[in-house]
């Protein structure tokens, strides 16, 4: 069989591409793959971060995780947070995208401002707004005769309050992707449907939503991963309280690593969380493809 050999020019191009990729590949290896491998290795060790002492423990950390009631609780809290934040945030983002699609540019900018604001700054400001005695929200409620609400100090209200904060913070990011998805839908689809007598609801149901499926799947996966990794606002505002009501998995990982000095166990939980998110992501992609 006559196999066509690549030209010298093509080989030279591949070699150049490879060489120019080296810095990025080194960066990936040093800051991404090596820490990931290290985390997996640590998961099988009893590692005292302060003294640096290490001892192999086999699958003990993973066995502990399987029976740890606090891990179960933090995982359930994270699921509750995910259910409160992601669906509402995506629905709101789609509504905003439809609203601002033909609206003034400044409106998009306003909605995007929280997205580009530092998470720490947002957490501190919302923490002050939620202040039980002198917060802005309770002052506003007071002015219309509503009693002060224990937004962050009640086990029932703390998680919804954190979810609300994060919806406000993240909705602009999702809106941006929905806007891009809406722009990519050819206008003649709508024109043809309108000619056939379709109303606005039908246009949305039979044209917009199906053609946004790729965007929805992408946002669902990224928002799910982000939701399961929530840490900063909880660490800064409630520290997992009151009575563990906002204690989520990543906060528990942090506590095990740096407060309880159980780095090996923290690494084992990290590995389990990463596996869980990987499975969710692969499943979501497969479901979207089959449909």
């Amino acid at each position: 069989m006559d196999i066509k050999r690549p030209s010298a020019h093509a080989i030279e191009q591949y070699r150049s591409a490879l060489l120019l990729s080296v810095p990025a590949l080194v960066g990936l290896a040093v800051f991404w793959y090596m820490p990931t491998i290290q985390a997996v290795v640590l998961g099988f060790q009893d590692y005292n971060l302060m003294s640096g002492s290490q001892a192999w423990t086999g699958v003990e950390n993973f066995q502990t995780a399987a029976t740890d009631p606090l891990l179960r609780l933090t995982f359930l809290n994270t699921v509750v947070y995910f259910l409160m934040e992601v669906p509402l945030q995506m629905a709101l983002a789609l509504a905003l995208a439809l609203l601002v699609r033909r609206g003034p540019a400044w409106l998009r900018t306003v909605i995007l401002v929280p997205t580009v604001t530092s998470m720490v700054v947002v957490s501190v400001i919302w923490g002050l707004m939620y202040h039980p005695n002198s917060g802005l929200i309770n002052s506003l409620l007071g002015s219309v005769g509503v009693a002060p609400q224990p937004f962050l100090t009640s086990a029932q209200q703390a998680m919804p309050s954190i979810a609300l904060l994060m919806i406000w913070k993240n909705v602009g990011f999702s809106m941006l992707f929905f806007l891009a998805g809406l722009v990519s839908i050819p206008g003649n689809y709508y024109e043809a449907a309108e000619t056939d007598g379709a109303n606005s609801a039908q246009l949305f149901r039979y044209i917009t939503l199906p053609l946004l499926r790729g965007t929805v799947v992408f946002l669902l996966i990224t928002n799910t991963v982000t939701a399961f990794k929530v840490f900063t606002p909880i660490f800064l505002i409630t520290e997992g309280g009151p009575i563990n009501a906002t204690r989520v998995v990543v906060l528990y990982i942090f506590e095990n690593a740096f407060r309880f000095n159980k780095m090996g166990y923290a690494a084992a939980i990290s590995v389990l969380l990463a596996l869980f998110l990987l499975i969710i992501s692969v499943y979501s992609l497969r479901v979207s493809r089959t449909k």
């Binding site: 039980p132 086990a155 407060r259």
Partner: protein, 447 residues
């Protein structure tokens, strides 16, 4: 760019990285153990010939603490010109969370202040080194015994007694005079907590403004057990489980934090915030200094802050109230030396200076913290007369160490959060049950 030039560029880049890598290794100072082997302590060259050393010193912000340490550091650097000390002052509320992260990193501060109740915990985990060899017996005899106990692990001292703190109630004398209430003036006359609530409620009711709190702490509700736990412990008889709040071996809280007396005290603690509404459930900055609070529980050095920042405020101090048994916590931050420090000997020498009479006085000239040396405590005029004599009298009569041991840091963290949750209205039984279950599980590792 032609091919050869591209290869040359990549080669030069790789070579540069390799050279920088090698150089940084060469530049790293030799470990202290190696230095100690090659240069015996008594043969250290005169100061002008010694290599310059820069030490990092980390501490939490606090009443006049920064200027106080600047003064002590200036005195030390004058004696040791080859040493430069860089300070890292961390906001008080973030310090407890940052410290373990620092110790876990590869380059923690050489010297760091550690809360006395957590010193043994960090020693157990190998984060800090023993200091025993820098103190002679006369030093140890002069330190307050409770601080020596809190810093001693397996017969070695890991924290240097520098200052000590008990708690006192600062009160606004104008507000109390307007309400016609005379607070106690000695430890023997201290109010019980119910008496405190009754009297302070009257003060708040008679205040000119509607926006006055009865009681505030440095942070609200206080996250540190130094401030909150004595209220709970005070509801037990001396030596009882409620009073101890932790088993003698430091590994069990069930039967200590959940006794009927403790549960009763938690209810009182919650009532202070919820039912009586005397204390705020979130921070109100400078409430006492600005006249927005009738009383404030703080430590002795707070007096100098009030005098400097709020010169028009008229204040005095009364002893801490109690439920059944009068108790205050005697504790404070202690200078420690990081096990990962490259300059352990230099760091120990600095810590030794801080703990000396000379070192403390350089600090004390700026801020009036209480000294950890008995000789200074009995010698400094300010602590022999009111109002600061209240602190000294409490220290010598009703002060006890906060519960600690190898799990002291974890204990402080979880119990501190428990008391914040209760103050903010959490279900007491559920909160205590969750904290006790978690603490018992966590402390098992120290058995």
């Amino acid at each position: 760019m032609n091919t050869k030039l591209r290869y040359l560029f990549v080669f030069v880049l790789a070579l540069s990285v390799a050279i920088v890598g090698c150089q940084s290794t060469d530049d790293e100072p030799a470990p202290a153990e190696e230095l100690a082997e090659t240069v015996p302590a008594e043969e250290v060259a005169p100061a002008e010939e010694v290599e310059p050393v820069t030490l990092r010193f980390m501490f939490p912000e606090g009443a006049g603490r920064g200027p106080g340490f600047d003064s002590a550091i200036a005195a030390y650097e004058e004696l040791n010109p080859h040493i430069t000390i860089e300070t890292e002052s961390i906001p008080f509320g973030e310090y407890g969370g940052l410290l373990p992260v620092q110790f876990a990193g590869d380059s923690p501060a050489d010297v760091a202040l550690v809360d006395s109740s957590a010193v043994i915990s960090y020693a157990y985990n190998g984060a800090i080194v023993a200091l025993g060899d820098i103190f002679n017996q006369s030093d140890v005899d002069d330190f307050l015994p409770s601080l020596v106990d809190q810093s001693t692990y397996e017969g070695q001292m890991y924290g240097a007694p520098f200052f000590i703190s008990t708690q006192g109630v600062f009160y606004n004398t104008d507000m109390f005079a307007a309400a016609g209430i005379d607070p106690p003036t000695s430890v023997e006359e201290a109010w019980t907590w119910p008496e405190f609530v009754e009297n302070v409620s009257r003060v708040v009711e008679s205040a000119e403004s509607d926006d006055v709190w009865g009681l505030v702490f440095l942070s609200n509700p206080p996250g540190s057990i130094s401030w909150s736990l004595p209220v709970i412990r005070s509801n037990g008889e001396p030596g009882s489980n409620t009073f101890m709040a932790l088993s003698a071996d430091g590994t069990e809280v069930s039967g200590y934090l959940d006794t009927p007396e403790a549960m009763e005290a938690y209810q009182f603690w919650q009532d202070l915030y919820v039912e009586h509404g005397l204390a705020p459930q979130g921070d109100v900055p400078d409430a006492f200094g600005n006249g927005q609070a009738a009383t404030m529980i703080s430590f002795s050095a707070w007096g100098s802050v009030l005098n400097n920042v709020f010169p028009d405020l008229n204040w005095d101090i009364m002893p801490i109230p109690y439920l059944e048994t009068h108790i205050v916590h005697a504790s404070h931050f202690m200078p420690t030396v990081a096990a990962k420090s490259d300059y352990q000997e230099e760091a120990k020498a600095f810590v030794q200076f801080l703990s000396s009479t000379e070192g403390f006085m350089a600090y004390y000239d700026v801020t009036s913290d209480m000294p950890a040396r008995i000789s200074l405590l009995n010698g400094l005029e300010e602590f022999q007369v009111r109002p600061l004599s209240i602190f000294k009298d409490e220290l010598l009569t009703v002060a006890h160490a906060a519960p600690g041991g190898p799990g002291g840091a974890i204990y402080g963290d979880i119990v501190g959060s428990l008391l914040v949750d209760i103050a903010q209205g959490a279900d007491i039984e559920a909160a205590v049950d969750a904290a006790v279950t978690e603490l018992d599980a966590q402390l098992t590792q120290f058995k």
